[in-house]
């Protein structure tokens, strides 16, 4: 091995690339120019990755050609196995696609397991599933993560590359791996549901179709012997109990209603019943997950005839449990709001102030919105108005924006009265 600065003649990469592409493509046929280019690019990337450490090999052109040729062979082998798949697909085209089918569910389940493969970094799993299985736009994924769209786009590109490079299969994993694999599938479904429930940045506050879709996928998990586990039922219970409130969350004009303003007669009792049923089945294990606790919080709301008679002390305790299982500034914020309901606005404001400067909440409109509400209740409408203004400066959906503006107007009117 040589290693000197001068080992690389000027434009060696550019020229070698052209040369090697031409040589490979000539043997493969012009139709395979793309394959030749891909093989050469891969060889150059490999050199870029290794040579800084090893030094430049004595015969860099020969090295690049060898690596590119071997890569082309790999690519052709992969194609050969894809041609086998093509025949499978052609014979499958003759079959009719049933409207309702557990076999179809198996396909989606296997696809989700692929997207949530442990070889992918956790944020990429969620982003990929939301994008490919969930059909999310990059911006929607970013909003669900409280992240920048560029970050998400890059994450997706890397994830897809990793799937190709590591030949991650579309399959329901064997039992030994399934527990870990299932955990990340559940995390993804949970996020999918939350995206539908709060619909960041969307024109409509609730996208019941998205909630319905995540419930459907979780039901496939719960109904499949491969994944019929307590935490799956806990998540399903949580989703159903939350979804039961969807019809009451907005008024006739599509505006957001707070829990206390909702007509609880509009809560879907069928969904509540199904949710409580799954919560019972979730209790069969010896493990308490965050989904269990969140489902219990939702069940406590569902059991109360109105906001005032809700057992807020119990909800605060459940949030304490939740924080122990899943510490997060968003959970801290929710606990603070419950605490305000139990002990008055001052206690809630003090609790929010502890998480106010958390960077994860810097674009989260609910933080200033909660402070606005609590300061108004505490009688300081001017301060409340300032917090509602701040909330309006952060990303939110159209109905959320109208809600915030309504609150702001109310504060200003009281202030000038």
């Amino acid at each position: 091995m040589t290693s000197g600065v001068d080992a690389l003649v000027e434009h060696l990469f550019r020229h070698s690339a052209g040369q090697i592409v031409a040589r490979l493509a000539r043997r493969l046929g012009a139709a395979r120019l793309d394959l030749a280019e891909e093989a050469v690019q891969d060889a150059l990337v490999r050199a870029l990755s290794i040579w800084p450490y090893s030094g430049v090999p004595a015969e860099p052109r020969g090295w690049l050609f060898q690596v590119a040729r071997n890569r082309a062979i790999d690519l052709l082998r992969r194609e050969a196995s894809l041609r086998g798949k093509l025949r499978e697909l052609e014979s499958a085209a003759a079959e009719a696609l049933p409207e309702q089918s557990t076999a179809l569910g198996d396909d989606e389940l296997a696809m989700m397991f692929m997207c949530c493969h442990p070889a992918l970094p956790p944020p990429a799993r969620v982003a990929l599933t939301l994008k490919t299985v969930g059909g999310f736009s990059v911006d929607e994924v970013a909003a669900a993560f409280l992240a920048e769209p560029e970050t998400i786009a890059q994450r997706l590109v890397r994830a897809k590359r990793q799937i190709r490079e590591q030949a991650i299969a579309i399959e329901i994993p064997p039992e030994a791996e399934r527990g870990e694999r299932l955990t990340s599938v559940l995390d993804v479904l949970y996020l999918l549901f939350n995206e539908g429930y709060s619909a960041h940045g969307g024109e409509n506050l609730t996208r019941a179709d998205l909630c319905g879709e995540s419930i459907r996928l979780t039901e496939i998990l719960a109904g499949n012997p491969a994944s019929d586990l307590p935490e799956v039922h806990a998540l399903l219970a949580l989703m159903l109990l939350q979804a039961s409130r969807l019809p009451a969350r907005v008024d006739e004009s599509g505006d957001l209603l707070l829990l206390g303003e909702q007509d609880r007669r509009a809560w879907d009792q069928t969904l509540i019943g199904r949710g409580l049923g799954h919560l019972e089945r979730a209790a069969s294990g010896d493990r308490i997950t965050a989904y269990h606790v969140e489902a219990a919080i939702a069940a406590t709301h569902a059991a109360a005839p109105d906001e005032a008679s809700t057992d807020w002390d119990a909800i605060v305790r459940l949030y304490d449990d939740l924080l122990a299982l899943k510490p997060s500034p968003v959970v801290e914020l929710n606990r603070a709001i419950a605490l305000a309901m139990a002990k008055g606005p001052a206690a809630g404001i003090a609790a929010i102030e502890r998480v106010e400067s958390d960077p994860a909440l810097s674009r989260y409109y609910l933080l200033p919105a909660a402070l606005g509400r609590l300061w108004r209740e505490a009688g300081d409408v001017e301060r409340a108005a300032r917090y509602y203004e701040e909330a309006l400066a952060r990303p939110c959906s159209e109905p959320e924006r109208r809600f915030l503006e309504r609150q702001l107007t109310r504060c200003r009117r009281t202030a000038t009265a």
Partner: protein
Amino acid sequence: MAKYLALLRGPGVPSTLSPQDMQRVIQKYMSWSDDLRKAGRVLNAEKLRFGEGRVLRGNSGKMAVTDGPYIESKEIVGGFWLIEAGSYDEMLKILSTHPHLEGPGSIEVREIEDTSRRS
């Protein structure tokens, strides 16, 4: 002279660069290491494979093996240099011009314990 291990952390090389840009990057690394190599100060330098690995955990006697480590790509150790230098100060001077630091990556440098030293 003491031995120092420099661990380079950061995401893998971008695969979208043009051949010309790739060559430029390699040349930067070559310029950085040229004098060190000529002086025989580079004892070893290796690239670690991205995208695979195993982690073994003791688990109080019940050893578990998982794929990994799958952490944020900026934390992944991509490779290492084993270099001879007189002191940490000299090592820092050597590494301060390392091209790796032009990207988002970091370098952790540790002196290797000299087991022959008695004091």
